[in-house]
């Protein structure tokens, strides 16, 4: 059983399982699946300043979601330690060729450890990838009113035109970085 669970799960198993989170949360308590709202709840709880956007009852509207994300961290521990797949991820040969051309050499983990490591945080490359990148994830998600879970899964599934616009933006932004910016930062 454990051996079976340790293998990577194919897309046609994982996709439906992720989709099921939406009805699970709706039925559990009428909650809408969306991870990035937690960043707002955390700001409202810890550093609300005197900012209108953070003046709301985060316990009432967000406590369930903060508990959910605590579970996501715990799930990461279970999936990444107890059920971890010892082999490198089976990425397409074309992507490996292109990433090698950018100078990436370590394909063993979930992230290229030659780039995402503590020594590299303060380098120009590290600042752009980790600090600017993270900032834009938080800023962009709140500006757009949701992230991949809230818009690309929940919003599209509920046929929201707004979410389709946001997802088009997600991809436009991602393609721009991948094809135009990456050659400059690697």
């Amino acid at each position: 059983m454990i051996e079976f669970l340790r293998q990577p799960w194919p897309w046609y198993v994982a996709g439906p399982l992720i989709g099921l989170i939406v009805p699970i949360l709706l039925i559990a308590g009428g909650k809408l699946f969306g991870v990035s709202a937690n960043l707002r709840h955390a700001c409202a709880a810890c550093v609300p300043g005197d900012i209108e956007f953070f003046k709301y009852d985060w316990k009432k509207s967000g406590k369930w979601n903060l508990v959910f994300v605590a579970g996501t961290i715990l799930g990461g521990f279970i999936g990444g330690w107890l059920l971890s797949n010892p082999d490198p991820i089976n990425i397409s040969a074309q992507t490996i060729t292109e990433l090698k051309a950018l100078g990436i050499s370590d394909f063993s983990g979930m992230l290229p450890s030659d780039v995402f490591n503590w020594e590299n945080v303060a380098s120009t490359q590290g600042i752009i990838l980790m600090i600017v990148g993270g900032f834009l994830v938080g800023f962009g998600a709140r500006y757009a009113g949701g992230c991949t879970s809230g818009h690309a899964i929940s919003g599209l599934a509920d046929l929201q035109l707004a979410s389709l616009l946001a997802v088009m933006g997600f991809f436009a932004g991602g393609l721009f970085i991948t094809y135009i910016i990456y050659p400059f930062i690697f």
């Binding site: 990577p8 996709g15 439906p16 399982l17 992720i18 989709g19 099921l20 989170i21 939406v22 009805p23 949360l25 559990a28 308590g29 009428g30 960043l39 707002r40 700001c43 956007f53 953070f54 959910f68 579970g71 996501t72 715990l74 799930g75 990461g76 999936g79 990444g80 971890s84 991820i89 990425i91 992507t95 394909f107 979930m110 992230l111 290229p112 990838l129 600090i131 600017v132 990148g133 993270g134 900032f135 834009l136 994830v137 800023f139 962009g140 009113g145 992230c147 879970s149 919003g155 599209l156 509920d158 707004a162 946001a166 088009m168 933006g169 997600f170 932004g173 991602g174 721009f176 970085i177």
Partner: protein, 139 residues
């Protein structure tokens, strides 16, 4: 606190699926943006289909939640075009730079990639700055 255990369990389930499906992998996200594999498109596509069918069933059968309340999904305001296009594009920049969206950031941190604390703190800073300058941004 007892009422929150179901959300903890749902989150654990989500975190495991994110890791085991390799959605958390920086390499998978690059593969997606380079159109070299169907993997990520298959996951997001099937996820949307399963969620869509579930929402339709819930709406048509008027299924109530576990607390006995009617289930309603608040619609997003489609008249606010700017925020979705501009905010979405900025989010896309961040998604491709870090190789992770918010769910995977947390799941990776749990899996032992402690370096993910850096983009998580930056994302909190980004959220805070958005809240601060929100009144002057076009939506």
């Amino acid at each position: 606190m007892k009422n929150y255990i179901k959300y903890l369990l749902a989150g654990i389930f989500f975190g495991i699926v994110l890791i085991k499906s390799e959605v958390v992998s920086w390499f998978r996200i690059q593969e997606m943006f380079r159109f070299d594999s169907f993997h990520m498109y298959g996951i997001i596509g099937l996820g949307v289909v399963v969620a869509m069918i579930s929402i339709q069933v819930i709406k048509r059968k008027n299924i109530k939640d576990m607390e006995g309340n009617a289930i309603t999904i608040p619609p997003k305001d489609p008249k606010q075009v700017t925020r979705y296009i501009v905010g979405g594009t900025l989010f896309g920049f961040g998604w491709a730079l870090t190789g992770a969206c918010p769910g995977p950031l947390f799941s990776l941190a749990g899996a032992g990639y402690s370096i993910m604390i850096v983009p998580i703190l930056s994302a909190l800073a980004g959220t805070w700055v958005y809240g601060k300058i929100r009144p002057s941004l076009p939506h």
